[in-house]
């Protein structure tokens, strides 16, 4: 029975599915990584994703232009991020709770706009799979990796870019400094609030993009609560990844592959109750962290508002 899982068809299927499923986690998780590295916890990712998903869907449907949809998602994501930044940085609100507030707000607002502007579940012709010349011709791997849609490629391109920005640029250094020791960063002339505003707004934009990747690339449909908890998983994966883009990638892929695996377990009719199959990704994500005991420590100033003395 179990051996059925190890056929080429199934393994390839798991890879392809896993890569696709990981896309929204990557956008949202990397955005959240920047926020947390600078010291701001944003639990409102889910709400930002939903508003972004709706904006992208609505604009793409009305204009017929997918890129305008992407732009709309980035824009409303930025607005949601800015609001979050204002509340948690300028007004020093408790971050855990303001995030929950933005989650509820985004959940409600996206549904409200959906009900009033569209009124019914509709579809849009989203980003199509785009075979990359040459690479997509590689046997097996070509189909898995190089025949996805543009927003999927974008998510994977984002990982090295984010890692580079975080580790090798002055901006990344400032982000890390602000998250580790804002007082010291401040005394060196770094504008702590500005850096945090940028990371949180960037996080909002990427969350919006994560929503767009669902509504106009992977699912091509909008419905109330389209994200259904994906945003919270994305936040959890930031911890899995130890606040590093590559780590987030590892977590997102692990979670998504196991999810793809459990779908196959059911399709192949393995004698496991469906509820336990559905549980697998959640259990294994925890187990993986236990096995690979992490010595990574969170950014010291995470969730702490910065109060400039004097």
């Amino acid at each position: 029975m179990i051996s059925e899982l190890f056929t080429a068809q199934v393994l390839l299927g798991i890879l392809t599915s896993g890569i696709r499923l990981a896309t929204p986690y990557l956008y949202a998780g990397i955005g959240e990584t920047f926020g947390q590295r600078s010291g701001v916890l944003n639990l409102g990712v889910e709400g930002q994703m939903l508003v972004g998903a709706f904006a992208a869907f609505y604009v793409a449907r009305k204009t017929g232009n997918l890129w305008l949809g992407v732009l709309a998602a980035l824009l409303v994501g930025a607005l949601m991020g800015l609001a979050m930044a204002f509340i948690s940085i300028t007004l020093r609100a408790k971050q855990g709770i303001s995030g929950i507030g933005f989650f509820l707000f985004g959940l409600g607002l996206s549904d409200l706009l959906f009900q009033t502007l569209l009124g019914s579940v509709q579809t849009v012709s989203g980003f199509r799979p785009l075979a990359i010349p040459l690479l997509s011709k590689i046997p097996v791997l070509g189909e898995v990796f190089f025949n996805q849609n543009l927003l999927v490629y974008g998510a994977y391109l984002l990982v090295p870019i984010a890692a580079f920005v975080m580790d090798k640029t002055t901006f990344g250094l400032k982000v890390r400094a602000v998250g580790e020791n804002p007082e010291a960063a401040d005394s060196l002339g770094v504008n702590v609030s500005l850096v945090r505003y940028i990371t949180v707004t960037l996080g909002g934009m990427l969350s919006g993009l994560a929503g767009a990747s669902l509504s106009i690339a992977l699912l091509n449909v909008f419905q109330q609560n389209l994200t259904s908890g994906l945003g919270f998983i994305a936040v959890a994966l930031v911890y899995f990844g130890g606040w590093r883009p590559w780590g987030v990638l590892a977590g997102a892929l692990l979670f998504s592959m196991v999810n793809a695996l459990q779908l196959w377990v059911q399709v192949l009719g393995l004698p496991i109750p469906s509820e336990f199959a559905v549980m697998m990704p959640y259990v294994l994500t925890i187990v993986a962290l236990v096995v690979a005991v992490q010595r990574v420590r969170p950014p010291t100033a995470l969730t702490k508002p910065f109060i400039r003395e004097g």
Binding site: L214, V221, Q224, V278
Partner: protein, 333 residues
């Protein structure tokens, strides 16, 4: 402002224990019949909640518009506690009929109905009217969704070329299980060689996982798919993209993928609602259970006219419907 003073006056609430809740009034004379309905998801979910909403619209039109039948809806009442408050509230506002359209509302209806003996309640989908508990003002209704599921399954079995059929469902119980079991039985009876893969994704809302489940079915070779509950909109998109055929249930899902949707089993509750309204007019407020079936046309198969279904398959489906109606085929679980 009056409200504010009211708040102030109830600070010592524990001391004040006043009268019980008032009962609702029945309809009389030229007053419109008033219905309140509470649904767990959105009224445009292309699934269970939409089915009751559209049925109410249909009844309203048949009765002569809002002057004759007035109805209000509280959708998205997935929190059962909130649904309970809504049901109680509507009952105390004197609605003639309060419908709790979700099997999870049974507990709250059982609790609330005795407090409003003059109001009629309806609960679906279930067969329990709580008459055995001494409650006489609750109607029950359910859909024998395995019947249309069987018909859809027969068509799916006839149409599949790869002999692989994929099904996406929420959790393995209730109306969803009933439909899926019927569908699988129908497909197998028509095409014993067909393999029907079923995926329960453990959620009514996870569109992304429903979509990926459908992708998995396609990868496993499925060229015909079906599914139930509101998150399957994600799976329909996959069917459309991969040119796999789709069978819908609960409400019409044709609009999402006119090229690949073959047919939908529609839940039409209008007959049940009309009958309940008549009974209430005659003074019966509950105690009866209704079913929608293919026989009483509460369930019917709506074919997508944009899809050219081969005549022999259409005939096969019609024959199956007839056989279920006459009892020649028994699909009850």
């Amino acid at each position: 402002m009056r409200k504010l003073t009211r708040i102030a006056s109830v600070v010592l609430l524990v001391a004040i224990l006043t009268s019980a809740c008032g009962g609702g009034g029945g309809s009389s004379g030229d007053q419109p019949f008033r219905i309140a309905v509470v649904t767990p998801s959105a009224k445009n979910d292309l699934a269970f909640s939409q089915s009751i909403y559209e049925s109410l619209l249909k009844v309203q039109q048949a009765m002569g518009g809002p002057e004759k039948l007035e109805f209000v809806i509280s959708e998205n009442m997935f929190v059962v506690d909130d649904a309970g408050a809504a049901i109680r509230d509507y009952a105390s506002q004197g609605y003639d009929l309060v419908i709790g359209h979700g099997s999870q509302y049974g507990g709250v209806l059982q609790e609330i109905a005795p407090d409003f003996p003059k109001t009629s309640f309806a609960h679906g989908t279930t067969v329990d009217t709580f008459v055995d508990k001494g409650i006489t003002n609750v109607f029950a209704y359910e859909a024998r969704s395995e019947q249309g599921g069987y018909v859809n399954g027969v068509m799916a079995g006839a149409l599949t070329k790869s002999n692989v059929i994929g099904v996406v469902g929420p959790i393995e119980t209730g109306d969803a299980k009933l439909y899926v079991d019927g569908f699988v039985a129908g497909a197998k009876s028509q095409n014993p060689n067909a393999q029907v893969n079923v995926n329960w994704i453990g959620s009514f809302s996870d569109v992304a996982l429903a979509s990926e489940a459908a992708q998995t079915h396609v990868k496993a070779g499925a060229d015909v798919m079906a599914g139930t509950a509101q998150m399957v909109v994600g799976a329909i998109g996959v069917a459309k993209e991969n040119n796999a055929l789709w069978f819908g249930t609960q409400a019409s899902q044709t609009s999402l993928a006119p090229d690949v949707v073959v047919a939908n089993q529609i839940y039409d509750w209008s007959g049940v609602i009309t009958e309940i309204i008549d009974l209430i007019g005659k003074g019966t407020l509950g105690g009866q259970a209704f079913q929608i079936t293919l026989a009483n046309k509460g369930l019917y198969i709506e074919y997508n006219t944009a899809y050219s279904l081969p005549d022999e398959v259409k005939d096969l489906a019609d024959a199956t419907v007839d056989a279920i109606v006459t009892g020649a085929i028994s699909v009850a679980p």
